[in-house]
Amino acid sequence: MSTASETARSVSRPVSRTVRLRRSPVGRFLWKVPFWTLIALIFIYALFPFYWALRSAFTPDPALFETPIQYIPHHPTLQHFRDVLSSDFFRRALLNSTIVAGSVTLISLTIGSVAAYALGRFRFRGKSPVLYLMLSMTIFPQIAILGALYTMFSGFHIVGPIDFPKLYDTEWALIFSYLIFTLPFTIWVLTGFMRALPADLEEAAYVDGATPLQVFYKVLLPLIAPGLVTTGLLAFIAAWNEYLFALSFIQSPGKYTVPVAITSFTGASGNAFQTPWGQLMAATVVVTVPLIVATLLLQKRILAGLTAGAVKG
């Protein structure tokens, strides 16, 4: 704000005492303190358990449950990380999870954005029922449809020569079933974004002779980019962390995804009763850090808003 307008304002309208106080150097500092305290609180609230996982990943097994609690390990060790990363089984799980989660995200975004285009930019009867139909997929508790999905994935005969393939113990079983929970909110959120765009946006493109698909691809998609990245990220993480379906539909350990692999770790005794906490925490760190790094790289894109340029242009 230029001083010119400020002076103009101070002449035309008296400025209240509170506003003056807020604008003074002292006021600005006092406003900063609660703000930064809030930042610090959010930081601690979000990160403390992760810090706990980190410190546990470096603590040797016998010291993990010692009292008094060691907030910083007295004898830090890299053994847990070595165990986790040298486990062929875990590495393969990282790959499997990446493939499954990545595919689910791509498919969700493709189907979702296309559907959102139809639901957000076209006028026709039946829009609301379709949206609620999408929503209805989210009312199923996973456990209730587990049995039915299991039967489906064991392969069955549809009609004539058409057979539903046996997807049990393949990534496709997971990719299909994860769509149940990623597709609904992807469609809803992207439809919201599509609706929020100005109504006359496509007309200019139509005037220029674009086809509807070109309009979708060249005009609308870039403008809803923050929505795409947000839902993509949420879908990826949801698919990455899913446990029940991954446990039920995958049998071979070579095809385990990360959550199942992590919970399959056994401790030195080899007994199922012992949870190897050190390895578990090391695996958690290994699995969470790339996600954070990816988010850091993507964060500008997550939050690029509708700039004034898009509206005016």
């Binding site: 030195a268 009763f273 290994v286 990816a294």
Partner: protein
């Protein structure tokens, strides 16, 4: 637009590269799962291998074995040896680590009459549920079954059919701190529950002066199957029956109520208030961190406490669990059996595999490399086995084993056990036993009536 896409691509590539590089960095040190320190011995050779090879060589069978980890490593070693000697190809699939999921996996396979599983590792409480789907092993393995502990063989015999062979066993034992007993003037571990509570109180009072987290006695009190095991030990050792006797629920009796109330009185006093969410893991942590004087757990805890770096190394020992005034010490049977699916396409070859796996030589191999309790008493007395598993002292190894009432409940065992452990968990959380036991008994009787 171009830059945006580039950035997204860069981010994804970066994340994947990070993960891959981490993995590659560790690829050089690709070692198998850590195995127990005890002297590793080779998988024993298959007796009568030539004859078996002639008859069944070349057939392929699938074995659903122990979950990923040392157990799976052992299974692979044994399967490899068996294949080498007999030419029968054994493919090993580890079952899920969680008991629920392992049960579901087998239940689904049996329900769909699938021939994809030939032999499976089943929990000691599952023979009753799976009996209709399993082959009777008595004709071919009856003689070998006589080598195993009679109680477990009986558990595995449903309606006259031997539906599973005992493989390795487990039972509850009492861990105690030898140094603390000495410090507070006790010459021997407690024999009765009353003694245990007294000793626990005295030791806790003394130790809490320097360690406020110290507890006298820890066990498994969470609302899950392990609590049924603990409760069975309390009730049976106090002379209160076995929850279900001769097909009728007997859990509602005075002796059972007394012992349950006694344990309830300790929660919050000599037992941490949080014990009602403890499973085996938390019990082991408490004891091995030096925060408990007594602990009830399975034998697996011994090896952990005895490893280098453990706070209680050399300071603890094991004995049989205490008993009530009118009872005797008992231990609930845990452990696993091997069963052959009746939908298997290679039943005879599979039975030979089971014969090998439940032979004394293999049980000795398992006991030494994996510290699993053998189900063959003669193996349990073997010097090398006892050396690797010090808790197999004769006094403990010959404790009376009690089995959970799975026999009478068949496919409804899980349902009945749920009624039991939910009720006992309520008692431990503060409700007097006389308010809970009648309801538990009537529900159990209802379930027993179901086919």
């Amino acid at each position: 637009m171009k830059h945006r896409r580039l950035l997204v691509l860069a981010g994804v590539v970066g994340a994947v590269a990070l993960v891959t590089s981490l993995s590659v960095a560790a690829a050089s040190s690709d070692k198998p799962a850590r195995t127990h320190q005890a002297g590793a011995i080779a998988a024993p050779k298959v007796p009568n291998a030539a004859a078996i090879k002639k008859k069944y060589g070349g057939q392929k069978i699938t074995f659903v074995g122990d979950s990923v980890g040392n157990g799976h490593v052992r299974d692979l070693a044994l399967a490899k040896r068996f294949t080498k000697d007999t030419g029968i190809k054994v493919s090993v699939t580890p079952h899920p680590a969680a008991s629920d999921a392992a049960y579901s996996q087998l239940a689904r396979a049996f329900s769909s009459k699938s021939s994809s599983i030939d032999v499976a590792m089943i929990d000691v409480v599952w023979p009753g549920a799976f009996a209709p789907y399993l082959v009777d092993l008595k004709p071919k393995l009856g003689k070998q079954s006589k080598l195993h502990a009679a109680g477990i063989v009986q558990n595995d015999t449903i309606g006259g059919k031997l539906v599973a062979m005992p493989w390795f066993g487990d039972y509850g034992i009492l861990y105690y701190r030898t140094d603390l007993l000495k410090k507070y003037g006790y010459s021997a571990p407690p024999k009765t529950w009353g003694d245990l509570f007294k000793m626990a109180k005295k030791i806790q009072d003394g130790e809490q002066k320097s360690n406020p987290n110290f507890a006298g006695f820890v066990f498994q009190g969470n609302s899950y199957e392990g609590l049924t095991c603990n409760a069975l030990e309390w009730i049976a050792s106090a002379g209160g029956g076995h929850m279900i006797d001769n097909g009728k629920a007997t859990i509602n009796n005075a002796k059972a109520a007394t012992i349950l109330d006694a344990i309830r009185a300790q929660v919050g006093k000599t037992t941490p208030r949080g014990v009602t969410s403890y499973q085996e893991d938390q019990t082991e942590h408490a004891f091995d961190a030096g925060d408990a004087a007594f602990a009830r757990n399975w034998p697996y805890q011994y090896g952990i406490g005895a490893t280098a770096g453990s706070k209680v190394k050399g300071k603890f020992s094991v004995t049989t669990l205490p008993h009530g005034a009118a009872g005797k010490p008992v231990g609930t049977v845990g452990g696993w059996q091997l069963a052959v699916s009746k939908y298997s396409k290679h039943k005879d070859a599979t039975i030979e595999f089971v014969r090998y796996m439940t032979s004394p030589a293999v049980e000795k191999f398992d006991a030494i490399t994996n510290s699993n309790v053998p189900t063959i008493p003669s193996v349990a007395k073997d010097k090398a086995v006892v050396k690797a598993n010090p808790y197999l002292k004769p006094a403990i190894a010959s404790v009376a084993r009690v089995t959970r009432p799975a026999k009478f409940l068949k496919t409804h065992y899980n349902e009945a056990s749920k009624v039991i452990y939910q009720g006992i968990n309520q008692i431990l959380n503060g409700t007097p036993a006389k308010n809970i036991l009648p309801g538990v008994q009537s529900k159990l009787n209802q379930i027993l009536k179901q086919k």
